[in-house]
Amino acid sequence: MKADCGTLRLLAALVCLCLFPLTTSEARSQQAIVPPQNLRVLDAPSDAGGGLIVLWSEADYDAPDVRYQILVGEGAEKRMVAEFPANSHYVRDVKWPWWARVDRPDVHQFNLKSGKGLELKNGTPYTVTLAVVKGTVRVEAPSLRAIPGPNWVNWNQMNNLLLVLLFGAVVLGSIRRAKQRDIFLRRIPGLDAVDEAIGRATELGKPILYLTGAGDMSEPATIAAAVILGRVAKRVAAYETDLLVPHRDPIVMAVCQEITKQSYLEAGKPDVFKEDSNFFITTDQFSYTAAVDGIMLRRKPAANFFMGSYFAEALLLTETGASTGAIQIAGTDSDHQMPFFVTTCDYTLIGEELYAASAYLSREPIQVGTLRGQDLGKGFILVVLALGTILATGGVLFDTDWPRIMLDLFKDLK
């Protein structure tokens, strides 16, 4: 094999020497065809096995009209599995982050994977070689053997792991901190609107309607709705206004009943607490809606609160409420219903504002800490966006590659 190569190389050199005087102007692409240098075949990293990578140095003759061929075989017999122009397949073309790169960017890299027409079994040695073809000239590099095998770590995803660990630490740390001392939360303007609406209902001597949404007690929006109900009930108790809370979920009703009772107690008005202010209607979406609409039309509440998660019924509820002239305050994380809440209600707590309002009121360390942790996460992303844009722009302006050192960290490359 070695001898073969030597002869070929010699032959190629001779051919080139003969041609040289004719081709001085097209020098580069007409370089001598020599076997590829520094050929290496390795087990592909970060995979479940069944993959090999072939690496070799760039050559002077790398041009579109020269082609590389990859040959693979189990024994001595090899067959061609890929053929491509010589100016393609570099390390820099492989979509791997910089830390997972196996060599310098200008080295050639070809990934062999088990798939259509090729089967690479783990643990089996394979013979791989590379040939260069130009016109009728074909030279082959010495064959190499490699064994594909599975790996325990996918290095391409390490940035993902790093971010999970970082964010996890931030969230858990914030919760711990919130347990030790007070964390600042800004006041949510929507809460003023809540107080105002209760005040107005008292003036008019009309009841207040409070809905907790369609979710069950496992949904963050429902939990927030229950917390805010506590606040509303406390105010309502102080003013001795009527409170109506129709429910769609028996468990949510039971929880809310407790919360309401507690609020009346805290307001020093346990005697005005009515057991039936929280009541269950039905689980069916539209039956519930029809029933609540009926309550709105008959009792004409002065203020309607829609907190929690809502589906298509949202519009039916708020439209009827708006037509009775009630002040309407909504708070929901159901983004599909948000437009309707914003246009039909006087004030809407949008998405996370609902959780924030609940954390603000409850001061519960887990809620407050989580909110703080998420804020820090958002802050981190904001910094990445700003810095990343500057670096990316710089990279284009100055035609450099080094901004990748940071940018790759925030890409999903696998």
Binding site: R186, F340, T389
Partner: protein
Amino acid sequence: MSFEMLLGAWVATGLTLFIFTFLYQDNPLFKLAEHLYVGVSVGYTIVKTYDTVLIRLIYEPMVTQGDWSLLIPLGIGTLMLARYIPKGAWLSRIAFAFIVGVGSGLAIPRIVSSFILKQVEDTVRPLVSIVQGAPTFTYNLMDPTSNLNTIVLLIGVVSVLFYFFFSIEHTGPVRVAARTGILFLMVAFGAAFGYTVMARMSLLIGRLSDLKEYAVPQYGRASLWLGLATVVTLFLWSRRREEPPPDQQ
């Protein structure tokens, strides 16, 4: 036309019209159709769950293919049903713990790569492009990837993120950013609003197309006859009620 198809057309038309009577006001015809709807959906769910889960996913692989490892999920699933036995209810927690644990574990890294890294990656873009070898600022609004749109997008993402900041006071520059954020939010909600109108109208168009189809003589003009019958029933019902119906306004 077969008898089943004819009957089907009449039933479908009738039920559609019963639901639509809600537009007049809440009434027994609507309530009937609504409860029937819930009942049929639940019945359908039960039959499908039986057929798919018990037969196709458990029985067939276990008995015909001998995959006895499926006894494990069967056991965990049964634990879940222990919820209904007061003394054994705590057993269901083991099943929930398993589902929720695996679910959370599966979700975390995938969310990071799909919805955080991918989204950040697409937002972080150079603010200049190379056009014919020279750095140029592209400002074609209709090209979503032009540099101008990249800037607008960046401002939008940043300002909305600022709006949802809760642990700092909204004053000074943060206030400006948050105010910009709310404007962006409103435009996006507007777009959602327009699109939702389209969606709901499509549903109505779909139902009315069906009614139109069933109004042809082959179907015995089901839509027309049943429409008439519904109106008459509704009229009689509202006359029979002692007190006048409460004003819908």
